[in-house]
């Protein structure tokens, strides 16, 4: 910004205070700020409009402020309306699509992986949309309302994939995702929606895509993770500190692009790595990270790279089964103890 700019241009967002809010409220604020700032941003999805404001109430009040023109309830046709979002994006709009649950993103699969993901490489036309996908489980919602299907998209060239674990990142990464000129899939964590609160900066607090964050520094072992599992890892780290094990927790934040530099910096420091996420371990994003570590940091490794993830089964509904399915602080701590004892 030049000095003359700074004299004449008023800040676009009113200077409100930072405040404590939930992960969900942070997303809501990010969306709202960005819609106020940029008239090309609009929302599409099932049940997001009117008084209802979406299955999780992220867009409560949005219809009233922005009108139905910018907050569009869609018929239950993910394939078609994600395709339409691509068309809008080609002509300069920035649609933010809510799929009601991340599980339903598979219904729009072709519009994402075949159309939007390939367009820029093929004929240089940008497709700047964001799909917001409420993902993850732990809330007894069974095989179709608990999925973590980010691996499908990380494997697909042309997409970006984001998975914030804190209110600050939820807002900050969402702002960046909306401003990005590429199709971005934004995995929100349902279990964090209302359970996690933090101080979130007011106004523009954009966080760059592709930069991991050290959620907790440590020297003995690196736990690489993202989403709700970050908090399980930190809880495990706290528990293990009492046992004299100093755990570093890396929160990836963005899965594509993946911040391999940050991962390698941590692992070359600690010499040990556990990769963990709630998604199916088999063929999950953790496999890529483990493979990168062994390729790039082989000589620094003092122990095998371990992975802890969901089991290779549909996410079961019943509480004892779902608990057995998912990684948690206890399982993470146990894996860490094994690795440290190696």
């Amino acid at each position: 910004m030049t000095s003359s700019d700074s004299q004449t241009v008023a800040p676009e967002t009113p200077a409100v205070e930072s405040k404590v809010m939930t992960y969900l409220e942070a997303i809501s604020e990010g969306l709202c700020d960005e819609m106020r700032r940029d008239p090309d941003v609009l929302l599409m999805g099932n049940d997001i409009g009117g008084d209802f404001g979406g299955a999780f109430k992220v867009t409560t009040g949005f219809s009233e402020e922005f009108g139905d023109r910018r907050v569009m309830n869609m018929p239950m046709t993910e394939l078609g309306f994600i395709g339409a979002a691509s068309g809008m994006a080609l002509f300069g709009l920035r649609p933010v699509v809510e799929v009601q649950f991340a599980d339903f993103i598979s219904t729009g699969f072709d519009s994402i992986v075949q159309y939007a993901a390939t367009t820029h490489y093929r004929w240089q036309a940008p497709v700047p949309w964001v799909i917001r996908a409420p993902s993850d489980g732990g809330i007894r919602s069974g095989p179709f309302h608990s999925q973590n299907n980010e691996a499908w998209f990380v494997h697909t060239p042309g997409l970006k994939v984001v998975a914030p674990s804190t209110p600050v990142d939820a807002k900050g990464l969402l702002l960046t995702a909306i401003r990005d000129d590429n199709p971005v899939i934004f995995f929100e964590s349902k279990p964090l929606y209302r359970s996690l609160r933090d101080v979130v900066p007011a106004g523009d607090c954009a966080v760059p895509l592709g930069r991991a964050r050290i959620a907790r520094p440590g020297r003995d072992i690196s736990v690489i993770t993202y989403g709700a599992t970050v908090h399980q890892a930190v809880a495990a780290a706290v528990e293990l500190a009492a046992e004299g094990i100093d755990v570093e927790v890396i929160d990836l934040r963005s899965l594509k692009p993946l911040d391999t530099d940050a991962v390698l910096a941590s692992v070359t420091k600690t010499g040990r790595a556990l990769v963990t996420h709630a998604a199916n371990r088999l063929g999950g994003v953790g496999a890529e990270i483990a493979a990168v570590i062994v390729e790039e940091a082989f000589e620094w490794l003092d122990a095998p790279v371990a992975r802890l993830g969901g089991l290779d089964i549909p996410v079961p509904s019943s509480p004892p089964l779902e608990d057995a399915y998912r990684p948690d602080a206890g399982k993470i701590a146990a894996s860490i103890r094994r690795l440290v004892a190696f």
Binding site: N73, P75, T107, G142, S318
Partner: protein, 323 residues
């Protein structure tokens, strides 16, 4: 056309509707008391459709009910015990705690196909079931249910077209209840009748009052028997109203109260009971006895389900694959 229903059968269907209502009301109460697990879908208003259409099938026919068709599961022989145990995630449930609420409540011994959340995947699957009957020259019919919301999906159209091209012995019940979750018909489509969407594929399409048990039964019965005798698929649009929220947590504040008040007058059970009384097919005392019986059965089911054990985590990997 003369009704296909005997008086005895009428009383049976009344029982299934009442049992559906009683079980549904009980489930709502359980959830309100914090005794539920996960989500649960409301049934009120849909009883005449799920019971009336379901009853038109023969025992060897196949049905894939959806999330508003508790009545159909019940009358096809899935007990309140098993259904409630599924809602509560118990080991004794249909899915042994793998799937929740009405999801996955399939049982091939009862010729019931379970559904998945992604709507409307029971539709192509049921068309495929119908095609298998043609393939084997079996005189069986396959039927499924979808909502107005599902009629917008591509899958709805691909499936109906396939049924038409293969002249499949298939019946589709469309439960047009005015809303898909919070989204009213006016935001879903501009057509007046979903029935035109069947005709777009050359599928015969009928429209019926979905709160009139006998009307639903009759039009479905004709469609089923036509399908059985090689007459091909039929789609039946049942006009009704979802009288409660989409699911337990949904207060449905977005529905105009007048609309609900209007439809409340056409409650399918009240209406059918009035017919039974007026026609001398039942006395109020008999109706009260049915209600009592349903309450007892539901109470027993609650006891059974809540008394059932949780699934053993050691079995978590069992059954991902057929061996």
């Amino acid at each position: 056309m003369a009704s296909q229903l005997t008086n005895g059968r009428r009383r049976e269907l009344h029982y299934w509707m009442r049992l559906t209502r009683t079980l549904d009301d009980r489930i709502i109460k359980l959830w309100q008391q914090g005794r539920g697990v996960g989500a649960t879908f409301n049934q009120r208003g849909h009883e005449a459709i799920s019971v009336g259409a379901g009853a038109a099938l023969g025992p060897s026919d196949v049905v894939a009910p959806m999330h508003r068709d508790l009545g159909c599961y019940l009358l096809r022989g899935m007990t309140p015990e098993r259904l409630l145990a599924n809602q509560l995630g118990r080991a004794t449930s249909v899915t042994r705690g793998r799937d929740g609420n009405l999801h996955g409540c399939g049982d091939l011994d009862l010729n019931i196909i379970g559904f998945i959340s992604h709507l409307p995947h029971s539709l192509p699957v049921t068309v495929g079931a119908a095609m298998s009957f043609t393939y084997r020259n079996e005189p069986r019919v396959a039927m499924t249910f979808v909502g107005d919301g599902s009629s917008n999906t591509g899958l709805f159209h691909e499936s109906l077209n396939l049924a038409a091209v293969h002249n499949a012995p298939f019946v589709l019940i469309v439960e047009n209840n005015q809303y898909a979750y919070s989204t009213p018909l006016s935001q879903q489509m501009v057509i007046d009748d979903i029935a035109v969407r069947g005709r777009a594929h050359g599928v015969r399409a009928e429209i019926v009052d979905g709160n009139d048990l006998e009307a639903v039964y009759e039009v479905t019965y004709d469609a089923v028997e036509r399908a059985r005798s090689g007459g091909g698929p039929t789609m039946i649009e049942c006009k009704t109203m979802r009288m409660l929220g989409h699911a337990i947590h949904d207060g449905a504040g977005y529905v105009p109260p007048d609309l609900l008040a209007d439809w409340a007058k056409r409650d399918p059970i009240d209406r059918f009971e009035a017919t039974l009384l007026a026609g001398g097919l039942a006395t109020q005392e008999e109706l009260d006895q049915v209600a009592d019986r349903c309450r007892r059965e539901v109470a027993a089911a609650v006891e059974y389900a809540e008394g059932s054990e949780w699934p053993d985590p050691a079995t978590i990997l069992d059954g991902v694959y057929a061996e």
